[in-house]
Amino acid sequence: MEGETKRENWIRDPKTGEPIPPRQQPGYYPGYSTLGQRAFWDAKTREVVEDRVYNIPPIRFFSDEELQIMTAVANRIIPQDDRLPEYRIPVVNAIDERLHKHEIDGYRFEDMPPDEEAYRLGLKAIDQTAHEIHGMAFADLDPLKQDFLLKTIHDGKKLAAHEIWDKLDVKRFWHMLVQDCVAAYYAHPWAWDEIGYGGPAYPRAYTRLEGGLPEPWEVDEQRYYWSAPLNSISDMYEPGDDPGTTSSQGGTH
């Protein structure tokens, strides 16, 4: 996670166009802290969540070169320019740890290489595409160009680096990438605070089930309006064709 963000990367007030400075805690639940409730959690949950926050795993899987690409990619898939540098969530370290420990979700698509190989190939393909199209490394591109390049992968298109992309399914790779990034980000209690999620509630319980009402220790929503920075195109939604199973499916029912 690099340091101070340039003003052009800040989110903006949609009415005035003024940049909104980074904060400790973005989102609509100011002052809400799940970690502040940890004394009410069971001991094992407290241990696991505290470990996630305070013991950030070192980089062991990605090479220096891959780490540079991966960091740049993760900064676009889960941009954190609205967070103060010391309150950004370490996404890449969590992905590195998964790959280092060969943790998989219990299956592999028959048209995909193992996850570790898919990451090495996919990152190489992203960087090679940047070199072929823009003549420079992906990490050195400005955020808008990075977004446009990633959008082609989101759309399942191969602009360049065909000999690498032929070894894996572009859409499946994209989905693995995004879901690994969100799994790392939204596993973090600071992200729970941002979205107003109650977090662990054993042995205490939730008691106000209906009507979206907060528990006494939760807080009410206080919405504000914001726009993505002008140098980004990721604040739009294009589901494309119904992709079926291209990715991990969280168990629901």
Binding site: I11, P26, G27, Y28, G36, F40, A43, K44, T45, V48, V49, E103, I104, D105, G106, Y107, R108, L150, H154, H175, V178, Q179, V182, A183, Y186, A191, E194, I195, G196, Y197, G198, G199, P200, A201, Y202, P203, A205, T207, R208, L209, E210, G212, L213, E221, S232, S234, M236, Y237, E238, P239, G240, G244, T245, S247, S248, Q249, G250, G251, T252, H253
Partner: protein
């Protein structure tokens, strides 16, 4: 107030396994030696294996259960945390393919004592009478070799045994009521009721779920924390780990955890004589047994039997029909998500707490056979983010934005019947797992009827959310549950086992789990799996002496052994006793 009155919650170190906050068991169980010829060796102590182990041990037999995963301690091993619950699932490699490849792992496969019942959402509807006669009534799929009424007494028993909370009157299929009262409704259930009611669609709230709405024996009631599929630390949601395994140990069963079976032994060709397995260090062992019961669920059961091919059984064990591994089914499990102006906070209450089976039965005017259910689901943040990636194509700032609205979204699940097709199957792949055992390769492709059903069903669920007042409705395609792949049937040419789960080919080899299902309805399979296990146990107990010694098959139905139900089933304080 920064800390609870009595200080932070901690556990005592008394050397016992904690199964929910009120139940502590000693796991210093009886240990059989590998030279002992036990009566029953059960492979997989999950939904079915847990019930079987308890019943057979309580009836006085020598039972060993081999479980690939660990013997959990719910307090020390489980967490109220999505990411931290990854270890509950069967995460070992499987290869998935076909035109509509299935996801495994957290989606449908458990590992550890309790198996999938540890992470099921615990919806516990019965199958409908029509589910057992799909071929006769609709000319598609297959008929079961048993009827609903063969299973009904076991449904009634298991509903009190595990037990199930739900409405006093459940109107679909064979109408019935539930022993424990319905749960209070959460935000998602409220909106399901609202949307269905506006559209004139029947709906029920508060169950049926195998989650306690009042305390039962040494299990406390639900606290509505929403972590059902991450393993219920509360002990309110049933898993066989907390409902059956303690009594299995009490009656002398041995559960050998971290023991990965890799071959059913057929050293005398005609009869199984035991199971080869690896311990956690990869050392090979052999447990001798008079009867082998495979309860590994719809992927691992066919995998084990296919990997057990041997002279005389070249196509795999119990596969003279060629149907082993075939007719694998998953249910359409599309998640339909709606955004509402007011907050919902869908993480509160069990994900499973309201449903409709209004569209369950075949309606010829729809243009396809069979139907679907609509159910509440309550994805936690990581699962919801993945759904937004698929349903909205969200990433970047768009992902951050929609996630900030997490509390405004609600999620409903379609549960649609996909028919059994011979080409949807489990085979053995080229690759091997960490033990060197060949992995399963699964092929799954939707057929015409399935596609029509999903299209109709997902539109209907979207209509429900619009009717409930959603401002935006999106959906993600996915699949839920796994059954079939070792189906029971009357004809040995087209099925793997008879109506008791006894393989047609080997008289002392049984299968007991979801892989037996010839069709699946649009009910969650958990209750039916456990009911079948109790029924198989009664058969085994009645005919044990013959099964141990001869290849004769006595098909006489056994009496139902109510007294073998776990001790709290009929105890004082169990409400709504009606049987």
């Amino acid at each position: 107030m920064k800390v609870p009155l009595l200080g932070p919650f901690r556990w005592a170190h008394d050397g016992k396994k904690i199964l929910g906050p009120m139940q502590r068991i000693s796991t210093e169980m009886r240990r059989y030696s590998e030279d002992d010829i036990v009566d029953f060796c059960i492979v997989g102590v999950g939904s079915a294996g847990g019930v079987l182990t308890q019943r057979l041990a309580k009836a006085g037999f020598k039972v060993v259960g081999l479980e690939a995963g660990p013997f959990w301690d719910t307090e020390r091993d489980w967490v109220s945390d999505e990411k931290g619950s990854h270890k509950l699932y069967w995460n070992d490699l499987r290869i998935t393919g076909g035109e509509d490849p299935l996801a495994f792992g957290e989606n449908n496969s458990g590992k550890g004592v309790g198996g999938g019942s540890v992470h099921w959402a615990a919806f516990a509807p019965r199958f409908h009478p029509s589910d057992f006669r799909v071929y006769t009534e609709d000319g598609v799929g297959a008929d079961w070799p048993i009827s609903y009424y063969d299973l009904k007494p076991y449904y009634e028993l298991l509903e009190r045994e595990i037990p199930v909370a739900g409405p006093a009157y459940f109107p679909w299929g064979d109408p019935h009521g539930y022993p424990y009262g319905p749960h209070p409704v959460g935000g998602v259930g409220s909106l399901l009721v609202k949307g269905c009611t506006k559209l004139g669609i029947g709906v029920c709230a508060g169950g049926p779920v195998a989650i306690l709405s009042g305390s039962h024996g040494n299990r406390p009631h639900c606290i509505y924390r929403g972590f059902c599929i991450q393993g219920c630390k509360v002990g309110a949601k049933q898993s066989t780990l907390i409902s059956h395994v303690p009594e299995a140990l009490e009656f002398g069963a041995e559960i050998r955890d971290r023991s990965m079976a890799f071959r059913v032994s057929m050293r005398n060709k005609e009869r199984a004589d035991g199971v080869f397995y690896y311990d956690e260090d990869g050392r090979e062992h052999f447990q001798r047994a008079k009867v082998v019961i495979v309860s590994g669920y719809a992927i691992e059961t066919p995998r084990l039997l296919l990997n057990s091919a041997c002279p005389g059984h070249e196509k795999g064990l119990a596969n003279s029909s060629g149907t082993l591994g075939r007719y694998l089914m998953a249910q359409a499990g599309n998640v339909i998500l709606g955004r509402f102006a007011e907050p919902v906070r869908m993480y509160k209450a069990p994900p499973a707490h309201a449903m409709s089976e209004h569209f369950y039965e075949t309606d010829p005017s729809r243009g396809f056979a069979r139907g679907f259910a609509i159910q509440t689901v309550g994805p936690l943040p990581i699962a919801f983010a993945k759904q937004m990636m698929k349903a909205k194509g969200a990433w970047g700032w768009g992902m951050r934005r929609v996630m900030m609205d997490y509390n405004h979204w609600t999620a409903l699940g379609l549960l649609g019947e996909i028919l059994p097709w011979a080409d949807n199957r489990v085979e053995i792949g080229e690759e091997k797992d960490a033990f060197g055992i060949p992995v399963a390769k699964v092929t799954f492709t939707l057929h015409e009827n399935d596609k029509k059903l999903i299209e109709f069903g997902k539109k209907k669920v979207m209509d429900v959310l619009w009717a409930a007042g959603a401002e935006e409705v999106v959906q993600e395609s996915r699949y839920a549950h796994l059954v079939g792949a070792a189906r029971m049937g009357a004809d040995p040419e087209t099925s793997v086992t008879d109506l008791w789960g006894r393989t047609h080919d080997v008289a002392n080899l049984f299968i007991c789990d979801g892989s037996l299902f010839p069709t699946q309805g649009s009910a969650n399979p958990g209750l039916t799996i456990q009911a079948l296990a109790a029924r198989t146990a009664d058969y085994l107990i009645s005919h044990a002496e013959q099964i141990f010694k001869s290849n004769e098959r006595d098909m006489t139905p056994p009496p139902i052994r109510y007294h073998l139900a776990p001790k709290d089933t009929f105890s004082k304080g169990v409400p709504r006793v009606y049987a």
